[in-house]
Symmetry: C2
Subunit: 555 residues, 2 copies
């Protein structure tokens, strides 16, 4: 494989989330981002979804470094699991910006993972990693300290943009380093892997700094308390809420664990400034006049246990909302969260609150560049090859169309898929053979290798419930020695439930007698017979297919 570059996405293509990419050269590996996704409702009982990183298990010793572009869950969240699973084999540090690593540190602490080498590098600085040179290029996004990753090799440079927008007036005054991107472009970029999240929106995204004045306008019209909900990691947004509150003489309370944590990290690193005396505790709110309070809260996605959701359902210990309060959603729902967000909003209306969303006023700006920004990136970097990243198949396709529009030849544009490596040598680029990829479920503290079976069972249990049937037979004769026990859970109660239970008990006896006549004595076989007979009976009576779980006990 010497002299060949391989770029293998393990997540983030054909989906939104769990971004992870393996870049290989001369048998050495740099991993860029290790993100997670949140489960869909079909993934019953699953907490988190990670990229399947089986590919790295046997290659752990080849990994030079793990590089994180920014501190969001979909780029960073799988780090603790990956590090724990590869530990022993892995001898690679984690690289990233200061805030990114602070967030990584906080995650690793939760997982009791100490002794991990976290190497902070500044944007513009260059580090040699075996056959690679690594450089972070400063970008703007909805969290400070976001970078593109440039990986130089003998063959040329791979540029992975991470999430970005070209914000010309970011809140911290540090726009994306277009100058360095242009320089890389002039030097020659071999492959560009770019964010596709907002390729379907025409034009340029609005700057983050337009949000502040709009927040202030909205606040100025409120006579009661104000609750602003946003992503806890959107530290510049929090800054703008604090500034608007200050301008109108309101104090600020932070509600929600991750909001307090991230604001703490952000203050330590100088990304957010809160004037002395501005912050009050959630319990102190009631001591202040309503028009002197702004609450900044988690829950902008309608998350079940979040602070705002609890407030909306009148289940929050510290904040009780009331008529006249205004709730500002300074965020849009991530696709899939629309229903949860709308439910939360409607509970707020039921209480009598006013609700302002980005549909009512420009109180949110996306952190991902729109179509013209994607084109600008392509024109700055002038890549030889293009592989769109971070998007469902629709967005990957649209991104490819934008690349064609700026003059990249169709045969140099690669619409990829998770697990499909792009292999590049001096002459050409093409997709190689598919590698293992997919989802790993996190269920509690465990990685669910065999979770497919468990999930199928859970779906069945959740759809129709379960009947447990216990038959006790004599070890000597195989005959029933106690009345069968029948228990059901998750099956709706019916008036004639007792009758059905009697029928099932009779059916157990019939099945056992038949098995005895046919001299079936093997427990597994007996259980199979009971299962088939009882499942048929239950379906006949209920027109449902609950799980039927027969247990045969020999005494």
């Amino acid at each position: 494989m010497s002299g060949q570059l391989r770029v293998l996405p393990l997540g983030g293509l054909g989906e939104i989330g769990k971004n992870m990419t393996v870049v290989e050269f001369d048998d050495r590996i740099v991993v860029v981002d290790v993100g997670l996704r949140f489960p869909t409702p079909e993934m019953v009982g699953i907490d988190l979804v990670l990229p399947d990183f089986a590919y790295l298990r046997e290659r752990a010793a080849d990994i030079e470094a793990i590089v994180i572009t920014h501190g969001h869950e979909d780029h960073l969240g799988a780090l603790p699991w990956v590090l724990r699973e590869l530990r022993g084999e892995l001898d690679a540090p984690v690289y990233g910006g200061a805030l990114t690593l602070a967030m990584a540190r906080s995650k690793l602490d939760e997982h009791k993972l100490r002794d991990i080498e976290l190497n902070e590098i500044d944007a513009g600085e260059s580090v040699d990693l075996g056959p690679f040179s690594l450089e972070l290029v400063h970008m703007t996004h909805s969290i400070p300290d976001s970078s593109a990753v440039a990986l130089g090799t003998e063959l040329g440079t791979v540029l992975i943009t991470g999430d970005y927008k070209f914000d010309q007036t970011p809140v911290d005054g540090a726009p994306a380093d277009v100058s360095r991107l242009a320089e890389l472009g002039r030097e020659g970029v071999l492959l560009l892997c770019g964010d596709s999240t907002n390729v379907d929106r025409p034009g340029f995204s609005p700057s983050e700094s337009v949000v502040g004045p709009h927040l202030e306008e909205v606040f100025a019209r409120c006579r009661g308390r104000i609750v602003v909900t946003s992503f806890a990691s959107n530290i510049h947004r929090v800054q703008q809420v604090v500034d608007a509150a200050e301008a109108l003489g309101r104090k600020v309370a932070l509600v929600g664990r991750s909001m307090r944590k991230n604001v703490g990290i952000g203050r330590n690193l100088g990304h957010i400034e809160v004037p002395d005396g501005m912050l009050v505790g959630p319990r102190e709110i009631t001591d202040l006049p309503d028009d002197r309070v702004v609450i900044i809260s988690t829950g902008s996605q309608g998350e079940p246990l979040s602070a705002l959701r609890r407030m909306a359902y009148r289940d929050h210990r510290q904040v009780e909302l009331k008529k006249g309060d205004t709730v500002v959603f300074s965020a849009t729902p991530i696709p899939g969260n629309e229903r949860a967000v709308n439910e939360t909003i409607d509970r707020l209306y039921h209480i009598g609150c006013d609700v302002i969303t980005p549909r009512d006023a420009p109180v949110h700006a996306s952190g991902h560049g729109y179509a013209e920004e994607v084109k600008l990136m392509l024109n700055l970097v002038k890549p030889r090859y293009v592989m769109p990243f971070h998007g469902d198949f629709k967005r990957l396709r649209l991104h490819a169309q934008l690349a064609e529009a700026v003059g990249i030849a169709p045969e140099d544009i690669f619409q990829g898929d998770n697990g499909l490596p792009l292999e590049i040598d001096e002459r050409r680029a093409r997709f190689g053979e598919r590698e293992q990829s997919g989802m790993i479920f996190v269920d509690g503290v465990e990685l669910g290798e065999m979770a497919d079976v468990a999930l199928r069972d859970r779906r069945m249990l959740s759809a129709d419930g379960i009947f447990v049937v216990v038959a006790t037979i004599s070890e000597q004769t195989g005959e029933s020695v106690a009345d069968p026990e029948v228990i059901f859970r998750g099956v709706p109660y019916r008036d004639d439930a007792d009758k059905l239970l009697d029928e099932i008990r009779d059916a157990v006896d019939d099945s056992l007698e038949r098995a005895s006549r046919e001299e079936v004595r093997e427990i597994d076989l007996l259980q199979q017979i009971l299962h088939d007979d009882l499942a048929a009976l239950v379906y006949e009576r209920l027109k449902r297919r609950p799980m039927v779980l027969p247990v045969v006990v020999e005494v």
Copy 2:
């Protein structure tokens, strides 16, 4: 209660769906609409949600009639259950337009409910029902034969709009009867209960007939096969797809059971005209050139078993989609269905299809009037009192604001809730005492009266799975006489699963011994002890809370 009018909504307020209203005068009742809702993901294993109509059980004999405004599920779908549950007591016919009753008949047939008196009435015709006079007023909506219901009483007229828009150029040439609405307004309407679905959209809704030319434009650009998905009941939309196909020399195939059924009903009643030879069977598609085919399919909401969803997942027996095919979504997602629709769209992109949605071209028009239409209704009808219907709390509030904007006094506007009756006499209107209302779950063929317990169990089962533990003890001594059986389902497999099962078996023995020492012999108590001990052990080991179901068998 003589001389008092009561309007009791049992569904459709503070929610979208399951519309149902009880109108009472002089102790006699007319029920307007009996709709259903589809379950949310939290309602695990539930098929349908009906309004809780317990209120009508004791009043069944007082019901003069059930009136259905139009043939959509959220206005008609609960009819079979309501009729079956109230049968015996109920002696009231069902009134509605011809298409509405044809759809009702088809539903009742599926439920084997014969001998139900279905009385077709034409819009404009008046029928006396005890102390009420009933009149249907012709309206336009996304299904033909939609009506508002005017119920005259001694005290005045209640007008329930049903779903409507003021389409000035409907496909069948019959706009809403604004003239009759105005006449009712001049005569004096006591209470207006109006549709709130689109109150949050400014202006007037586009006419259904603008969709046809846009469909033709889109079709003209397609070189491959075309699939159009829409609601099967949107018969005028189907007509327009047929017309556009005809204009471009394409044949039409209908795919999906409800699509074929509704087109059949629509053709029988003359609501849709298909030229001879235009329709081909789904299997004949492959015999035609790709640019001579339009498929009209169900599945516009991403429904799991729908034809389009199956096609997108390459699981449809008759239609195999391919690169170059175009899929036109001639519908928008109902709130809550966004994720399912987006998943379907992305699978289509993955296949290589082009996808056109209402965001790309005006290939859909809503059936519900926008804010200006709601105001027009208020101005035409000039009601004494207003109670917004059909909407979540946000939309009910916005509707109330529109009513204020056209000059209705705030104290004459009632923002209601399911179960809250509005009581009107000569002097005034006010909310009365809350009546029972809520949801009834349909689970298979059963109405789930006790479904709450079953649902809680299902949620628990689906979240973490189940452990079943069977202990066999001697009736005489209470001692264990067989090894405990431990079975789990829906719990992720772990490498050390055997170890945990051993631990559980040991714990069962320990618990039984302790119980024996303490002379606990009662089976229920033993099971409780086992449950508590094992649940603690399982949580300690897994950090999850699967259901623990102990069964103690005495031999």
